[in-house]
Symmetry: D2
Subunit: 477 residues, 4 copies
């Protein structure tokens, strides 16, 4: 299915296990729980102490792996990765974890995030004779690692990570250990769990729940953890940045509601977003309807704060086959009904509050509003549980360019008009940041306020990089 | 994915279009909207007025069809079918619609329901020289049709349908017309829609919504509709039975909440079930949590009646690949968490009402309760939006045998103990039937009260038939 | 690969085993050895004494079967079938063996040959209420069998076979026996072998060689053999026809050179064809080159008789993938070089005799001649090891229609001119029939002389039947 | 099919086109004609002057490519590669051409041959910070190229090729040119052809025949050709080695008989091998039978020299599906009959000469002899058209280790006894080298006489390298 969805896409999810006889199967389940973070490719690399085994493929975890290839992945340690990527089987080479041979032996890497100095590093590495076979940042990291001459793998890794800037939550596997690392700003999540004596690293705690592992703590921003037969050893070799910069949008949209993220439960944070939204943009209405499933939590908060009843008034079709053809390819635009259908009888003649997590280009929201209007809604009040998106993300979230973000060029009134809603309310930046218990300054909200915590060469802004990357992609595809 | 789910399975969904240049593509979309009624095989047969074209396959609509095979299905009329079936590629031959040549030409059939005299008819037909290539009831119907000697196809069909007893909502296609038929008791739904001048027949109205077709009316119990270039012609050749017997379980579980079924919106009926349930089994609690998505509507009703806040406290994983391996095949029983994970932080220390649509064997519910208990729930009050299931269905729903139905052998107290819930409440039969506006006597509630509206030879009860069928299956597989 | 080859196609090959613990695996190997008789679908039906198991698929034996599906076919008896068919996955339903339920239980059938009264029988059966789900003759046979009311299966079968006319070598399987039958004229081969105590039936003896089975004898024309735990029982219930009519073209082209066919080794018969051809059309030349591999044996005979050295001067490419695209689809016509390339250095400036088995439309031969001319051949003398093809086959070989057969409308001179050869010689009918030791009158040579041994309604000639069949195909596809 | 064949395997075939609007399709056909040089993976990289496009896959050319992916490969220049490799889909990454980004842009490489200093170069490169993602020599070449700092691509390439030792016939593609290079010893073939104005490079001339291109000349040992819009430019930057060392085994077995190789037609050379063999080992016999197809040419020579008639007495089964299961996996060893079956009737009671190209381990030959003996051969005289294989090849042919080569440890008498033949004759080294018109000293015959033309570190002999490679393979698999 090559469905174009008007929705930000998260780069990736990572998962790793050390010290369990069923490490690979646990990794498989872990990746399944992280599937919402990337649906285009999946991979696992395992080790039995001597040899690294790898299997990767395009598609969902449940499609990439089967009993046979899982059985071929031996060992008591494993790292895994799910990612989204531009489609095309030829892009299999970009699937992670990436495994290479270098002077110290074999190493595998899985990466969630986006480097801001990738282009510069790549140019420099090429100038010094490196050849690139993929277009992913992870390959840059491995080249740097291979060129480092320090005495130990740890020193090499520290030296390497000091070269890279931007967002990274990394897992590595060598023959006998797994390593986790999180950038000093802590953009992307990475947590530590335990299952008996085995250690687990994962992007989100929902993957711990699935395997009945215990949530221990986050890998701290700027922390590296080396996990082997001696246990877990923590290293914090980096200078602390002025402030941390955890991605607030993980709370708004990406993370699963049942995860604990940056110290708080996502569902509860979202409910608080909804409550605050109800306070900031009160309205008289018959019911609150979430856009399922991403609007569910905020809608519950809105309903509870406002006293307006919550109704699951939009039905989601859960069955989409692998090659499902979009109606637009068939006859004409059936809008978003293919996935979401409003319950006419419920909505007819009613004043409704629709709660969604965000608006990107605005076209999907517009279609949804039309669907509700066609279903007979008398008034439609749209409430968005985050501020307007005005800027692209440089740290690993695939927003469209500034020009395509509706809020970067249109006023609130213009957007409301465009969407054809009776009223429109976005959660305020302050309201959003107050709703998370962490001090405000610890979050990155650059996509809302343009305040980018990690400097980048403006000549090499995200879209230049993107472009160069695409050119590259074209070249190597 | 060969996931064994402790859940009743609906036999099928049917869809048909007459008089549209894009009949096949509309049929494709229609089947997609009916996918919840059957996920194991899908098929479409079309006609351009002279020739019938057919494509069928195992799997989801979105997997069975692609641009190429859809393009090969020509014509302005089409019928389609989704079904569940025992797994195994060899069962492709049982996929519907079934197409055959007989003395009058070519005819295709799609069937939703279950005949109670299938075994007898099959034996008799074989005695008279019929050969059977599939194990589906539809083949019996076609044999009867082929042996009928009446002057017209209509007479033949009437003669044929008079021979069969039980539940059937049927669609037929010949070179130049589509035909719909619903058994006199009206067990399974079948409705008529219009899209411009084109006619549509479908199991549920949600399929009309998807293609922007207008809902006209139900095909009435005992009605046949012949649709061709002259329009729709209705025939009611059958003697009225003592009472109608629409399947109330369609309202409880099978149908999609956005459908209008037997005259009422499913979501609203379910909400009323929930309200009534709250009246019958009130409880003090912190929140009402539905088992998503089938418990959503009833939970909303329960919440609104009781004033206890509604929370989407169980998160559903939407990504299951085609070959997803169950954890039980992997390590040990992770229960139902693979699909549903409770939000610990929300539930911890709380008194919760869990609303589910039904309990069949009880094992799945038990796992869910355990998951909630592990998540820290202080009290768990389970509320079921229908009465206890004590009897198998003979009319097309794949319940387990009486012995396996937990409510057929255990008291309420014993079930509550088995599930380890603090309290358990099933909606009463009266409460359920009052909640649907139709007169009670029009519904079949045999699975609850054992009152089977269509007589069947007790020596040939469902499980004998089933068994014989399985034996057959074995033989021909 | 949807390669259109200018070559007659044999309908089918059949194979059966009774009384071996590895019956299915032997059947798999047997079908592989018969693969030259049909490459479009393959199937095996086995029985363990109680239940019939079936697996069929489109493609080569080695593609249709794998360890898993072979393992699912249990039992000590099995029948198998390879066939060619019009392409398209939808035609899977026509793959054999066909298995059906009828009043006596379950029966499977595999058929090689073509009935001349298929159309009449089918019409009649339909008139009496039969429904047809495939377009193969085998289904007619099963319908007749199911309608027969005799006391025993044997009587039923005899009654059935007495109704059908034309060419048939049949294998049947029931729960506990296999049955072989060959039509009274003996058009198609069918032989009996033994492997220890186990019995084998097969179209050709080369399949016995592969499994190290011993060749016992042919199933005689008009003979039926019933093989079960009591051993083999022979029945000859049919009136002897005026003469037998074994297909001489099996010797010319279809059968494998290592088979013993109708009492003689195919290679030796073909060598004798070649010798006779050299006597009938002597020529002075530098070398004899066969069109590989079908011309190999006759070329050897020609070389030995004439004393002109044999050279394998045309190289065959053995590697053609499943979806190989023809050059014509790519750029322009590279003729037949894609499969066969002449050795330039060998041919340059030489006078060559090219020996091929037959000419059908003439286009392929013309291309080959061009290729040899381009390679520098000074003189090209084409010798064909059978008489000119002037008539279609009604008994199971897929020749084109009379109009398309080049020899039906062109004289020898015209054909030579069309092919651009320096001389052309076809083996004479007498020469051909003398070369086989059996009395001439025992062979069918209708495709050469139009002398059809089994009468057929001229209004229902092969092409009418074909047409009706195609129409049907269209209808049901 | 993972058939273990007792037969040397050639590493690869390469093909390249410059200056044709259908370059990719020509490349597809070219690879198809070179399929005998490698059946495990295939790939094409094309360029439209700005961007490189690539598609690679496991399997035959006809399976890897389809209309869709061929259409995605744009441009007027293309290089392609077929290779054998250890099985396993994970080895896709080793499929060639390899494409990388480096400081000068993008470059693709296809390699036929084997480097003798690969291990040393790889270690050194890793020591200087290179990371390896594949286990093929080509990646070493690209790393060296990327590290070269010369002013032009040509200088870089020369510098790179001066570092590598052993056998290489290389094709490169950049955005706007193709480049061919052949090592100074000329181990592997590489020729130049023209199709109108377009240039072609190919391993063998049979690929030129297929696309109707003209054979111009060989790329000379030590020559590089740069082909772009200005035409072909030849460079010979290497010091001439003491002697050339063309692989004589290409003539014996690998190359196709219709190719012109190292200045001579392969078929004619083989025939001369056969003639010489008849002179060296005369025998009285009834017929000469080649092991098809590799023994065909030599057998013709033997027959013509000896006057003993040539018979194609062993029949080859051409139909092997992709997943064909070996009989050994099924029941027991049916020897080689699965592919080759002798014609009993022909052989029975006869004295036969069997001509084969070579004996490696001896087990396959032994099975064949047994098959012929079972078929009734009275005397079996085996004649091999090359000397005994006593040494592994270091230059690109996959022989087994010295220990496994039957001739390295057994005398002629012992081998004859092992094979159970009545007599055995190997062509003498002198006889073989006299049969090729080139001066003897220009050929490499190390596999026969151990005279390796390119020195290699004995500590790093082929099997050490192999082992290290396998270890690596294991690690990265």
């Amino acid at each position: 299915m090559s469905q174009k969805i008007d929705r930000p896409k998260e780069a990736c999810g990572v998962f790793a296990v050390y010290g369990h006889p069923e490490a690979v199967k646990l990794n498989y389940l872990g990746l399944y729980a992280l599937q919402h973070r990337g649906q285009e490719s999946a991979g696992i690399v395992s080790s039995d102490g001597r040899t690294l085994y790898s299997h990767k493929g395009m598609g969902l975890v449940g499609d990439v792996f089967n009993e046979e290839n899982l059985a071929s992945l031996k060992g008591h340690l494993a790292i895994g990765h799910v990612r989204y990527s531009t489609t095309g089987s030829s892009m299999l080479k970009n699937a992670q974890p990436l495994v290479v041979e270098y002077s110290r032996g074999t190493i595998a890497i899985g990466h969630n995030g986006n480097l801001v100095n990738a282009k510069i590093l790549r140019d420099e590495l090429e100038a010094y004779g490196s050849i690139f076979q993929t277009t992913v940042d992870s390959e840059i990291i491995l080249h740097l690692l291979a060129r480092s001459n320090s005495a130990s793998l740890q020193d090499n890794l520290v030296e390497t990570l000091k070269c890279i800037e931007g967002a990274y939550s990394l897992v590595f596997a060598t023959e006998d250990q797994i390593i986790g690392a999180r950038d000093p700003h802590g953009f992307r999540p990475l947590v530590i769990g335990k299952l008996g004596d085995a250690y687990v690293l994962t992007s989100e705690t929902c993957a711990l729940d699935l395997i009945d592992a215990e949530f221990v703590r986050e890998v701290e921003p700027g922390e590296m953890v080396f996990i082997n037969h001696k246990g877990l050893r923590s290293v914090k070799p980096f200078k602390k940045p002025e402030r941390q910069a955890m991605c607030v949008f993980e709370h708004v949209y990406f993370a699963r509601p049942d995860s604990i993220l940056f110290g708080e439960n996502v569902h509860e944070v979202r409910k608080e977003f909804g409550r605050q939204l109800a306070r900031e943009f009160p309205v008289k209405a018959d019911m609150v309807i979430p856009v399922p499933d991403s609007g569910n939590s905020a809608a519950a908060g809105f309903s509870q704060e406002s006293g307006i009843p919550l109704e699951m008034g939009i039905i989601r079709n859960h069955y989409i086959g692998r090659t499902f053809l979009q109606p637009t390819q068939l006859i004409r635009d059936f809008g978003v009904k293919i996935k979401l259908n409003p319950i006419k009888k419920l909505i007819e003649g009613k004043k409704i509050v629709v709660v969604d997590d965000s608006i990107v280009r605005g076209t999907t929201s517009k279609n949804r509003v039309k669907g509700l209007r066609d279903a007979g809604a008398k008034e439609i009040h749209m409430r968005i549980s985050c501020p307007p998106h005005k800027n692209p993300c440089l740290y690993g979230i695939d927003f469209p360019s500034k020009e395509e973000l509706i809020a970067s060029s249109k006023t609130m009134d213009e957007i409301a008009k465009f969407l054809k809603v009776d009223s429109l309310g976005y959660l305020s930046l302050e309201g959003m940041l107050q709703s998370v218990k962490h001090a405000n300054k610890n979050f990155c909200s650059a996509c809302f306020d343009g305040n980018y915590p990690v400097k980048f060469d403006t000549r090499l802004n995200k879209f230049i990089m993107e472009k160069s990357r695409e050119k590259l992609l074209d070249k190597i595809k």
